[in-house]
Symmetry: C2
Subunit: 158 residues, 2 copies
Amino acid sequence: MTAGEERRGQVAAVRRREPEFGLLPQLLGYTLRRAQVALFQDFTAAVQGHDITPGQFGVLVLIDANPGLNQSELGLAMGVDRSTVVAVIDRLENRALVSRQPAPRDRRSYALELTAEGRRLLGDLVPLVHAHEARVAERLSPDERRQLLDLLRRIGPA
Amino acid sequence: MTAGEERRGQVAAVRRREPEFGLLPQLLGYTLRRAQVALFQDFTAAVQGHDITPGQFGVLVLIDANPGLNQSELGLAMGVDRSTVVAVIDRLENRALVSRQPAPRDRRSYALELTAEGRRLLGDLVPLVHAHEARVAERLSPDERRQLLDLLRRIGPA
DNA sequence: TATTGTTATACTCTATAACTATA
DNA sequence: TATAGTTATAGAGTATAACAATA
């Protein structure tokens, strides 16, 4: 019996109740999307005042872990086109968090580096992001959290 | 030991290897995002030729399950602002999949309905979406798939 | 010939603020 | 006063196509 069938007796009179979601709640795509929206909102609240998005945080982590990486490599790592990387780096460079250095042996490309301020910000963000992660997983046991990560990694291409 | 430490011996010579992802792979936010990108791409391929996004599919399901619902209620159900709903419905109405009918007892609002073509399209899409769901979960047992849905629903606000 | 960064362009999704009509 | 739909506007994020500089 669906939620709708449970309430069938009261219908047609007022029509001000929770909507039916049809097959949506059984779909991975829909359920994943809902979880991601919740996560995004909590992330934004967690880093409030630092004006950083999850994507920008990822870029800072990636450059920190791979100093000297160029924009095309960064795009590949993030799964976006290199033309998309331009504006992303422009924003971070304008905020003096990332710098474009001349690449040692390829004058076509830039070596991306965190500035001192970028490193400082990343250092501030990491504990906030860990707190955010703990909060969104607060209704999961450590084992369930590990299992969720494992199941998510098994979605999509082998 | 991290993946980076394993390879430390070969570094500094060539510098053309897979990037390090730092703490990213341990984060729910990052892992969820990766899974969602994979899902989105597979969905697009699955409904190829029907020119429909996951969000638009959700709107068709919601209107089908709640005929006569208005735009504000739809926005609430989708978790987006009512101003965002306008363009979404404009697109679907221009394609004659959804119609704005006068609402019976409130002249400010529209009663949203699927057109005959909208119902036909939804009927075509449902099996394609089920096939897509099966494909993205092909490396999950039925029990693991149920568990993933359960864990995802426990992310975010209680 | 191929690659890197860039620009121009376009489209989706999202929000806020303000407006009109109606409740 | 409050609500429904709309518009204007803005910003992030994404892509494709073409270009100059360089490999």
